[in-house]
């Protein structure tokens, strides 16, 4: 079986972590060819050729493939699809943008966010924001898949795949790039942060949310919020962690003044270590916390900042 894996590339550079993790998942399906596509992709293709388990790299460089615009990127992938049984990518926002488009053009279903490979046709994926895990068997001739990278280990380096240059497909000319704005905050980005500190309705006001931010800065963490805190106007919507917000799985998640509504738990329960600080000892958040502290957050958080 042959697998085409779309490398994750931004600004000409290979995202080694996401790509190597997807290679681990893809190796189980067959012989892996990596596609490095972008306005500049040769260096990324070269880097991908060294990932253990990659047998071939295709490099497609064209200005229209810059910024991974969905229409041109999908057209290129579809033009190559005939040679492959599986077309896969790490489940980044780029891939989530492009792969369903590829699948529809091939008249197959996309299988998103796959967390486990059972066999070449059968896959596990989380549904209901991770509250259930579904095993699905694809009846389509070709499988178009994105892999949830947090569940696979990165493949090592040491490979020496051949690198071949190919040309882009025709430009559908439907969209143009305007600009990129990298998050301006000094804090890490919420979905990829190693530590997240979140505040809930217990924080009580927008002003007091500064205390959550202070603890986050002490820990070098991203700031999150429960939906209750967002709905109460204490925190902006893009900080929301939960089923209707962002799903995070950091090494350390600190929940402050969060009761632990179902929809919030769905967004953070895969974190490695969960700390909960809440004055109500009956709060459901304590059922998922590794370390629970029953205390008034206005006493405990300043003390924690001081002692860390």
């Amino acid at each position: 079986m042959a697998v085409l894996l779309i490398a994750e590339i931004s600004d000409g550079e290979l995202s080694m972590d996401a790509t190597a993790k997807a290679v681990t998942a893809a190796k189980a399906l067959g012989d892996v060819t990596v596609l490095a596509a972008g306005s500049s992709a040769a260096a990324a293709g070269e880097a991908a050729s060294k990932i253990d388990g990659v047998s071939k790299v295709l490099v497609a460089e064209d200005p229209m493939l810059g910024h991974r615009l969905a229409e041109a990127t999908a057209a290129l992938i579809v033009s190559l699809a005939g040679d492959y049984d599986h077309i896969v990518a790490p489940a980044t926002t780029d891939a989530k943008n492009v792969m369903p488009r590829v699948a529809a053009l091939l008249d197959v279903m996309v299988i998103s966010d796959v967390s486990g490979v059972v066999d070449a046709d059968t896959f596990e994926r989380p549904i209901y924001a991770g509250n259930a895990v579904q095993t699905v068997k694809s009846n389509d001739a070709k499988k178009v898949i994105t892999f949830r990278t947090s569940t696979f280990d990165a493949a090592g380096e040491g490979g020496s795949a051949s690198v071949e240059t190919i040309s882009a497909a025709e430009n559908p000319g439907l969209s143009t790039w305007v600009e990129d704005k990298v998050a301006e905050s000094d804090r890490p980005e919420l979905t990829s942060a190693g530590v997240v500190v979140s505040g809930g309705r217990g924080v009580g006001s927008e002003e007091d949310f500064a205390l959550i931010e202070k603890l986050a800065d002490k820990l070098g963490a991203a700031v999150g919020a429960s939906r209750a805190a967002v709905d109460s106007g204490y925190a902006p919507n893009d900080w929301q962690v939960g089923q209707t917000g962002k799903v995070v799985a950091p090494d350390l998640y600190v929940a402050v003044g969060i009761s632990g509504a179902i929809q919030h738990l769905a967004g953070m329960k895969d974190s490695k270590i969960i700390v909960a600080i809440n004055k109500d000892e009956e709060s459901p958040i304590f059922q998922v916390a590794d370390y629970g502290l029953v205390a008034d957050l206005f006493d405990a958080v300043p003390e924690l900042i001081e002692k860390l």
Partner: protein, 252 residues
């Protein structure tokens, strides 16, 4: 310009998901159902475009079981002008896959000729994140996913997208499919008078067969199970103990 907004009836985001013991799926019988939260944002955005004079008519569409007409009434109460219900299943446990949904939507788009389709970026049940992209592909249109800002200027739309690590702004040719993310807006609640008025707004009922679309699944569901449970943690008595435990675990 006409705006088409597909909306999905899903389990309410506040309801605890229960996986059936026989592994056949999630229990949806006698469970509170609501409009998919991302679709509410899409409906709200369509209404704002109409209020700004950039859209003339808003058509809400739902594909699924007959009860999805409640979801459509919610969209109408928020401010959509009319609705189309496509009954594609009589079993609440059968999820119509994004590819089939996109095919039905294509047929409706061909009929209705909207200048813009606004979708939620994903449904909180199957978490596929695919319908908008698939519809765009089938139409041969442009797409702008995960939108946090939309500005329509003539036959172009400038859309800011939430991507890993920041924001990307692109310009797409209309007609287009835009899928919306959380930051775009905060949806309004329907007022009681508007809920009453919505009962009189037109709601057409169709079936998947009317559009000649086969809704059988491409992905056969083998089983659905609960995720692995977290091991129970401990309560600590003081901040000092918490700091000590975190250091012990190598977390700080």
């Amino acid at each position: 310009m006409k705006v088409l907004v597909p909306v999905k009836r899903v389990i309410d985001y506040n309801v605890k998901v229960r996986v059936k013991a026989d592994g056949s799926g999630v229990d949806l019988a006698n469970v509170k159902m609501s409009m998919n939260p991302f679709d509410e944002i899409a409906v709200e955005q369509a209404i704002r475009l109409k209020e700004a004079g950039q859209a003339e008519e808003i058509v809400a569409v739902s594909i699924g079981v007959k009860q999805a007409q409640e979801t459509l009434r919610t969209a109408l109460a928020m401010g959509a002008d009319r609705a189309i219900l496509v009954v594609a299943s009589d079993d609440v446990h059968k999820d119509i896959e994004p590819l089939a949904v996109a095919k039905i939507l294509k047929a409706i788009v061909d009929e209705e000729q909207p200048g813009l389709v606004l979708c939620g970026k994903q449904a909180i049940d199957n978490d596929m994140n695919a319908t908008g992209q698939m519809l765009s592909a089938l139409m041969g249109w442009s797409q702008a996913t995960f939108a946090s800002d939309i500005a329509i200027e003539g036959d172009k739309a400038k859309v800011t997208r939430e991507v890993d690590g920041g924001l990307q702004t692109i310009e797409v040719t209309m007609p287009t499919v835009v899928t919306v993310d959380l930051r775009l807006n905060e949806p309004r609640y329907a007022s009681l008078p508007n809920i009453m008025k919505a009962k009189k707004k037109p709601l057409d009922e169709k079936t998947a067969e009317d559009y000649g679309v086969d809704v059988s699944n491409r992905l056969e569901i083998v089983k659905t199970v609960e995720p692995a449970e977290r091991a129970a943690g401990i309560k600590v008595g003081s901040v000092d103990e918490l700091v000590a435990k975190l250091k012990e675990a190598g977390a700080v």
